[in-house]
């Protein structure tokens, strides 16, 4: 509750102001979901220590597979999350993920320099993201509709460029180590996710561009009125989303060794789910990079735990669905308690 402050304030009140400031900043961080996440990890570790044969959570293979797979959702989710905070959606990230990686695979197979092929793939992904932005912002239609449409178009582009068969991708040498190697015990994709998450944090939460992203999503009219270039900011977010989708696709292609055109159909919705679990609003203007990362971890975690416990695979989607709904309720309860 807001309390009526006295008309004249003394300097001593500064301490009070900075104390309440810390409290508000903590509330606006991803602290709730982080505490929940750490709690779940502690529980999982305890169970794994008590009964390692039935619940092989701490098995090194389990951890390695987790660190290999979480970034394949988490990296595209970082882009999708920034775009959601800017108030827009990209339902075509899965199609982009496949198209960009298949471009890299096919160009490499056709003898192009493998580094150049990766560069072309990253540019293709970014351009696709920007095209989504141009269509949405120039034609002034909802990005949900735009990207529902372009989802089909980019899928068709993959079939046109490559066909329906899968494409093998086997980078060599240093590129292979960078995409598919291990840094000590940590798989390369996890390192990339860490690097990109730190970059996104710096951009979104410390840079003025990030302030404009929040403003553009939270109140586009107000942002415009104070001199924020909303269209340019949203274009940047669309571009970042496309770039992240391409990075995720290329890492997936390298770790699996081939790209199947229909393998990422649910990526966009999973990425949005990770963001929602991480505390982002569908209406934009709110969220943290840490929240997105934890959201991606949690979506993987629930499936991992169920698989380790021997739950039949076809039940997994029900638990993932329940997690998304539970997270939403969790945030609702928290936000009504804090006024």
């Amino acid at each position: 509750m807001v309390t009526e402050a006295p008309a004249t304030r003394e300097v001593a009140d500064y301490k009070e102001i900075s104390a309440s400031g810390r409290r508000y900043r903590l509330q606006q961080s991803a602290i709730d979901i982080a505490i929940l996440f750490v709690g779940l990890q502690i529980l999982s570790v305890i169970f794994a220590l008590v009964d390692p044969s039935r619940f092989a959570y701490l098995n090194s293979a389990n951890i390695t597979v987790a660190l290999q797979n979480i970034p394949l959702l988490g990296i595209p989710a970082l882009g999708v999350g920034i775009l959601m905070i800017a108030g827009e959606f990209d339902l075509s990230v899965g199609a982009n993920y496949i198209f960009s990686s298949i471009v890299v695979g096919q160009l490499s197979a056709n003898g192009m320099n493998q580094w150049l092929a990766v560069l072309v793939g990253l540019i293709a992904g970014t351009v696709i993201g920007l095209l989504n932005g141009v269509i949405t912002l120039k034609l002034k239609i909802p990005s949900f509709i735009t990207t529902l449409g372009t989802l089909g178009i980019w899928n068709a582009a993959t079939l046109f460029y490559h066909g329906a068969s899968s494409q093998t991708y086997t980078p060599t040498g240093i590129l292979n180590s960078l995409l598919n190697g291990n840094f000590g015990p940590v798989p390369a994709p996890a390192i990339w996710m860490l690097v990109l998450a730190v970059g996104c944090y710096a951009l979104l939460q410390r840079h003025r561009i990030g302030n404009h992203v929040f403003a553009s999503g939270g109140g586009p009219a107000a942002a415009n009125a104070t001199g924020v270039n909303v269209v340019r900011t949203k274009m940047l977010a669309f571009g970042i989303t496309g770039f992240m989708a391409a990075v995720g696709g290329i890492l997936a292609a390298a770790s699996v060794g081939n790209i199947a055109p229909a393998s990422a159909d649910s990526l966009a919705l999973n990425a949005i789910a990770a963001c929602v679990v991480g505390g982002l609003l569908l209406t934009g203007g709110k969220g943290t990079v840490l929240g997105i990362v934890i959201g991606a971890f949690l979506l993987y975690w629930i499936q991992d735990v169920l698989l380790l416990l021997g739950a039949p695979g076809f039940y997994l989607s029900a638990f993932v669905g329940a997690l998304i709904i539970a997270a939403s309720v969790f945030y609702r309860v928290i936000s009504t308690r804090r006024v």
Partner: protein, 275 residues
């Protein structure tokens, strides 16, 4: 509010102006005798409707103008013209003796016009400090924000100008504030980025009595420093207390232009209500 507190704000503000690279104060604009802003025969039509017809008046340096009129008189359109949101069909704006075209809000802001709109232009999901500096973040040469300094300045501005509104921290989300508190934040922002001309569109409509008094004290203080303000309001008593000159509008035309000494609150009331 004591003068000591006001001086504190001024110091902090000027420090921030320098850091943020913002352009100068009113007393750096031209010579004192040239009017700050002249509106000459401004006309604006929306479809078949004449919203503004040959509106002319001047804003001198260091004065507070009351722009009065009933609903539909064209006040808001005129405010939007001055702030660059709406372009006139005919007529001319002259800034400090030179004809200007305010094609966008950015252009008018560069000349030194700061506007507080009725809907106050705040983002609910962002903190007060981030709202105050939205679009004008204090940043280093790589574009990274100095969040600490933004918070400190916001706290200082809030403490001295709008402390009575009961905002305890610049980190609070604007969405958790009451209507009056939001308006106070918008006013704090305008006051902090004070330039040459403040345009306040119904700033006191959601403010408590004490907050209104604090705002008026501030406007007087800014006037003493050489800044001009245009106060758009329904409240004639408020206007009469603070303004030096009045422009009364009716159906898109100016029907009275008078200095405070030449008119009375009765005449203003009569003009506004009869049109």
């Amino acid at each position: 509010m004591t003068s000591i507190e006001i001086n504190e704000v001024t110091n902090v503000s000027s420090k921030a102006e320098m850091t943020a690279g913002a352009s100068g104060f009113a007393n750096t604009v031209g010579d004192a005798a040239t009017p700050l802003l002249e509106l000459k025969e401004i006309c604006k039509r929306y479809g078949q409707i004449d919203v503004l017809t040959n509106v002319s008046f001047t804003v001198n340096k260091a004065e507070v103008i009351g722009l009065l009129g009933d609903n539909g008189a064209g006040k808001s359109t005129l405010v939007k013209t001055i702030s660059g949101v709406v372009q006139p069909d005919q007529g001319e704006l002259v800034w400090d003796g030179k004809p200007v075209q305010f094609n966008s809000r950015e252009v008018s802001a560069n000349y030194g016009v700061e506007t507080i709109f009725q809907d106050s232009a705040l983002v609910d999901s962002m903190s007060i400090a981030r709202n105050i500096f939205m679009g004008r973040e204090i940043r280093n040469r790589f574009g990274f924000m100095d969040l600490r300094q933004m918070r400190e300045i916001a706290a200082e501005v809030l403490k001295t100008i709008v402390a009575i509104e009961g905002i305890d921290s610049p980190d609070k989300l604007v969405g958790s504030l009451s209507g009056g508190q939001k308006q106070a934040v918008a006013i704090a922002r305008a006051v902090h980025f004070k330039r040459s001309l403040l345009v306040l569109d119904e700033p006191t409509s959601a403010l408590a009595v004490r907050a209104t008094e604090a705002l008026f004290d501030y406007l007087r203080h800014l006037r003493d420093q050489g800044l001009s303000s245009i106060l758009v309001t329904h409240d004639l008593y408020d206007a009469y207390r603070i303004c030096d000159r009045f422009v009364v509008m009716s159906r898109g035309r100016t029907i009275l232009k008078a200095a405070k000494s030449e008119t009375s609150i009765e005449e203003l009331t009569e003009k506004v209500s009869r049109g």
